[in-house]
């Protein structure tokens, strides 16, 4: 059977960029706006929460998102080692006020935190089950927040894997394309038999086109 490919890889790549770049731009702007707070010699968690809240809410304006916030590099605050200034859900409640698990979580080894700061570039983690915050199958977009060479933390946003599917599945189906992350796990596929999160073998595909500024590859 000949498979007619009505949509090319370029169109697929454009659709991916159109989905992710506005979110990353929003994160960068928010991170830049929060950073000057740390010019002060002594910063408290309360100050960070107060300063971050309006910017997290700005990011959450995008209907694709389920949670957003600023995550402080450990050791920068006078009163807390770790701080997730993060808001989520329809009521935009702050997590994790009640969750002891979250309060004490050392997020410095989490991919969404570590990779963005190590590379100094935006990063997308997942799809993974976020058992700390949402209990959902999500992707987390993070951008490093750095001021005058000093690492302050990451600004991030969670997007449900389902949301990405809804936005992009048609174009991927038409192009018979599969989007994989840098661990070669499927983010989304036009092939009904490949589910998000499953390992994909690049060798099974004719072409592999990396996505600009995103840790993703489009396989066809």
């Amino acid at each position: 059977m000949t498979r007619t490919q009505s949509v090319g890889t370029d169109a697929v790549a454009d659709a991916v960029q159109e989905f992710f770049q506005p979110l990353l731009a929003s994160l960068r702007a928010s991170g830049d706006a929060i950073a000057p707070l740390f010019d002060s010699p002594a910063v408290t968690s309360e100050e960070v929460l107060r300063a971050s809240r309006p910017f997290a809410f700005d990011v959450l304006q995008d209907p694709h998102t389920v949670g957003a916030g600023f995550v402080v590099s450990p050791g920068l605050l006078t009163d807390e080692t770790y701080l997730l200034a993060w808001w989520q859900g329809d009521d935009k409640g702050r997590i994790p006020e009640s969750a002891a698990l979250v309060q004490s979580t050392d997020y410095s080894r989490q991919e969404w935190f570590r990779t963005a700061l190590r590379t100094g570039r935006s990063h997308v983690t997942g799809p993974y089950i976020d058992y700390v915050c949402t209990d959902e199958f999500v992707l987390t977009l993070t951008v490093p927040v750095i001021r005058a060479g000093r690492t302050l933390g990451v600004m991030g946003v969670d997007v449900l894997a389902e949301t990405i599917e809804r936005a992009l599945v048609d174009v991927f189906r038409e192009a018979h394309a599969t989007l994989v992350n840098h661990h070669d796990r499927a983010v989304l596929s036009g092939d009904p038999r490949i589910f998000a999160g499953e390992p994909v073998d690049r060798q099974d595909y004719r072409s592999a086109v990396p996505c600009t500024d995103l840790p993703f590859t489009i396989l066809t």
Binding site: P127, F137, L160, A161, E162, E165, R166, V169, R173, P192, R193, F195, A196, G197, E198
Partner: protein, 250 residues
């Protein structure tokens, strides 16, 4: 309406097992509803009388009656009076398929994969334990369930769906865990109904039957690892066919 007689099996015994002190009409109703929708109780088969049902489930007669009234209101049971009368199962086959197709269409692929993973993990775990615990007679009962599905009948996909559901419930019963058996009953009446939509295709039915026999073969050999792996690929293949069906409907 003809009365369908069926042999007693573990899955059917579980349907009528005592429901306990906390039993209420609504729990009786739910259990029977699940059994009817998933096909453990056949279309047209006569239910036990109110006093019999009450005694089997360990509830008051008035509670059993209340549950039957509710099932009648749902159209899942028909009651006739007089000699030869009683309550009969009325399975809305077409309506269930229609509802299932709607549910399938409304689901994202992420959701489909999520349901499929839970289903595959629970069922393959059951198959593994069943292989360790089943005796020869129990294995023979499993085989009879599969072979009882009359592929030449007027409703071949209905018969095959029924047999496949019953096989899974019977395998779950062989784990000797009541909680696991109940969980399998729950996922069968929830996602199982969707997973069996591809049974409308004769090719799919044949493939499932081949899988069923290899799973039972591994259980007969007391090979837990093989039973697990075979059940997993049985679900995996069905999930792929279901995803293709979903894509085709769109």
């Amino acid at each position: 309406m003809a009365t369908v007689r069926r042999p007693a099996t573990r899955a059917r015994t579980a349907v009528f097992a005592p429901i306990g002190d906390a039993g209420r009409a609504v729990r009786v109703e739910q259990r029977l509803e699940q059994a009817i929708r998933s096909g453990i109780l056949s279309d047209g088969e006569r239910l036990p009388s109110e006093p019999e049902l009450a005694a089997m489930l360990g509830v008051a007669t008035v509670t059993a009656r209340e549950a039957l009234v509710a099932l009648r209101a749902q159209g899942l049971v028909t009651t006739t009076r007089g000699r030869g009368g009683g309550s009969f199962v009325n399975r809305p086959v077409v309506a269930v398929d229609g509802v299932a197709h709607q549910r399938l269409l409304a689901m994202t692929r992420v959701e489909l994969g999520d349901h499929g993973t839970l289903y595959a993990t629970v069922l393959s775990g059951c198959a593994e334990l069943a292989a360790e615990r089943a005796d020869a007679e129990e294995v023979e009962e499993l085989r009879e369930i599969v072979l009882s599905a009359d592929v030449e009948s007027a409703d071949p996909d209905g018969a095959a769906r029924h047999a496949d559901t019953e096989l899974h419930l019977a395998i779950a019963a062989l784990t000797h865990s009541a909680r696991l058996a109940r969980e399998v009953m729950r996922i069968e009446s929830d996602f199982g109904v969707l997973l069996r939509l591809p049974f409308e295709d004769a090719h799919h039915r044949r493939a499932v039957r081949a899988h069923q026999l290899t799973v039972i073969g591994a259980i007969a050999d007391h090979d837990g690892a093989a039973a697990r792996a075979r059940m997993r690929s049985r679900v995996r293949d069905a999930l792929g066919d279901l995803a293709e069906l979903q894509t085709g409907l769109r």
